[in-house]
């Protein structure tokens, strides 16, 4: 597989992530789709790193992995505080704030 095959896979993963965030209504699934987008970007960075023969892309990926872990920690904490107050993980039930 060449570098552009990896790019195509990354682009497809990224699109699945974007569509998932826009169409799904379960907060956990939306959150997983965001993680999918981050990982698509990682795949893209790694294969570009190979293309250009420098390490910048790979260093970037390490940073992104750390950031993704931090996001999980904070995101799940936010969701737990919501579930404690109101027993739902559906984004359409959280509609106190509108207009």
């Amino acid at each position: 597989m060449g570098i552009w095959d990896y790019q195509v896979v990354a682009a497809i993963l990224f699109m699945i992530g974007v569509l998932g965030v826009l169409t799904r209504r379960n907060i956990i699934v939306m959150f997983m789709c965001i993680e999918l987008m981050l990982n698509a970007a990682n795949l893209s960075l790694i294969s570009f790193s190979r293309l250009w023969g420098n390490l910048d892309g790979q260093i970037f990926v390490f940073m992104v992995i750390v950031v993704a872990a931090v996001e999980v920690a904070v995101g799940l904490a936010i969701m737990i505080s919501l579930v404690r107050n109101r027993d739902t993980v559906n984004i359409e039930d959280t509609s106190l704030l509108k207009w």
Partner: protein
């Protein structure tokens, strides 16, 4: 090989980082002292003493960082790591850091009393605030896509937690959740944009990206577009603004004030650097995008603000509109355009923090004064808060001679100068739209003074305001800043030496402008 590090270049950031790390430890230590009934200076440690100690410690660190930043303003560009310059501490960085630190200091001073009022007086609030502030300071300084992304996340993640800080409140939960989903979605878009830019140019340094930038290459264009969309989400520019009113309304009031000011300052600072350095060769293509973003943000923000009944939502739409005004500076894209934008950020910080401080003061026993009509009769119950609110509203609307007028003035002159220099009528159109929008905005900004001064308070709903000493201080600072910057926009702060704010903004802008 020893790395060639210069710690003094980032000393203000080190102060903030030290605070973010030490504050949770201090909180635990104090909680233990309360539990064990230890005494200090002859008095048993109680909750009030503990929170006072935490506030003093935080403010001390922030003031030290601010003094250091202002004191080193005129020094040449400094880099933390000369071999791999990921952070550039130039005049732009220092100017942004000063504004960010001012915003953080004011927020901390208001928050101590406000947090006690909503029953959430925990020390980790300040730790999260400082962590986020550190991210903002680094964001304005980042000259490298890796640093840019890391700083953006360090800024955003603590803010998600702060938005949901009032754990027992459903509104606060919902606000945090929406901000979290939208914010991380925007970050992921920006990250993929960074990946594509890296793929197109083979480097993550902004200056190198500019060298490898090829407007014909679809990879470059897509990457740049995704990065800009990510930023548009962060600065809540129409059509990526839907989250802002919900998040601003649900978050604790002082956090909203911090979000509305500091996040905008940092994101615009980074946007200036990205647009003026990294994507400079694509300026002509981006001009059209920014033109539309600016026009839409101004118009939609102002029109939507008119129909709001909730004060915080109204201010949220107003901040969307102000984001549009600031984008005019990006459209102009010259030194005077960026200088106008930077000056506007400073002025906007004082006006917005002032308005949110009044709202924070009116919160009693966890009950917020949410509807605009609830402010009726404020001039009787708390005349000073009513005066400051009126000043902030007039200044946001851009009525001379207050500070907000000069903010718009410099943006407009920048746009007109540039338009006459290159003979471009679209910039003139933009300037006209800005002026028209300022007129529209009067409709809702003047509504608050009318309600506060011309309507009687209704029995049970009288706004009950007893501001703490620190909160009154913040009101004074905001009011004085709005009036003083307005009356002497040229050489403001004569007390602190010959310090010319707009000239400083020009110097700061020259750090990146071509």
């Amino acid at each position: 090989m020893m790395p060639n590090l210069d710690l003094s270049a980032i000393s203000p950031m080190i102060f903030v980082a030290v605070g973010a790390i030490l504050l949770p430890l201090l909180e635990v230590l104090l909680a233990r002292m309360i539990e064990r009934r230890r005494s200090w200076l002859g008095r048993t440690v109680n909750r009030e003493m503990a929170s006072t100690a935490i506030v003093i410690f935080t403010v001390l660190l922030l003031v030290l960082a601010l003094l250091r930043t202002v004191g080193t303003f005129d020094l040449p560009v400094a880099h933390f790591n000369l071999d791999h310059p990921m952070i550039a501490v130039d005049q732009l960085t220092r100017f942004l850091n000063a504004v960010l630190l001012i915003s953080a200091i004011l927020t901390v001073l208001v928050s101590s009393r406000y947090l006690a009022d909503i029953g959430m007086d925990h020390g980790e609030f300040y730790a999260l605030l400082l962590a986020s502030l550190l991210g903002m300071m680094l964001l304005g300084a980042a000259t490298d896509l890796i640093m840019l992304f890391l700083a953006l996340e360090l800024m955003s993640i603590p803010i998600y937690a702060l938005a949901g800080f009032q754990r027992s409140s459903l509104k606060s939960n919902e606000s945090a959740l929406k901000y979290f989903i939208i914010g991380s979605f925007a970050s992921a878009l920006l990250l993929y944009g960074c990946a594509l830019l890296y793929g197109a140019t083979g480097t993550v340094e902004l200056a190198e990206i500019a060298r490898g930038f090829d407007p014909e290459n679809p990879l470059t264009l897509l990457g740049a577009a995704l990065v800009l969309v990510g930023f548009a989400f962060k600065i809540a520019s129409v059509p990526f603004h839907q989250w802002a009113p919900d998040v601003y309304e649900g978050a604790p009031t002082t956090v909203t004030g911090f979000m509305a000011t500091a996040v905008k300052v940092a994101a615009f600072g980074a946007l200036i650097r990205v647009v003026a350095v990294g994507l400079q060769p694509g300026a002509e293509i981006m001009y059209g995008v920014f033109w539309w973003l600016a026009v839409l943000s101004m118009t939609v923000g102002n029109v939507m603000a008119i129909i709001q009944q909730n004060t915080k939502r109204m201010l949220a739409y107003s901040s969307v509109a102000h984001g549009g005004y600031m984008l005019v500076g990006i459209c102009v894209g010259t030194q005077s355009g960026y200088a106008g934008l930077l000056f506007y950020l400073l002025v906007y910080t004082f006006m917005t923090i002032g308005a949110f401080t009044v709202l924070a003061i009116l919160t009693r026993d966890g009950r917020e004064v949410s509807r605009i009509d609830d402010l009726a009769g404020l001039h009787e119950t708390h005349p000073f808060a009513a005066i400051v609110m009126t000043l902030c509203m007039f200044s946001l609307a851009g009525i001379p001679p207050l500070a907000g007028f000069w903010g718009k003035w410099y943006l407009l002159t920048g746009a007109v100068e540039r338009a006459t220099a290159i003979g471009d009528t679209s910039l003139i159109v933009l300037a006209v739209v800005l002026v028209m929008n300022s007129a529209i905005s009067l409709a809702y900004y003047l509504r608050l003074p009318v309600v506060m001064y011309m309507r009687e308070a209704r029995g049970a709903d009288r706004p009950d305001a007893t501001a703490g000493a620190l909160q009154t201080t913040v009101l004074w600072v905001c009011a004085l800043a709005i009036v003083l910057i307005g009356v002497v926009p040229g050489d403001f702060l004569i007390l602190f030496g010959d310090y010319d704010l707009i000239a400083s903004a020009r110097v700061a802008a020259s750090a990146v402008s071509p």
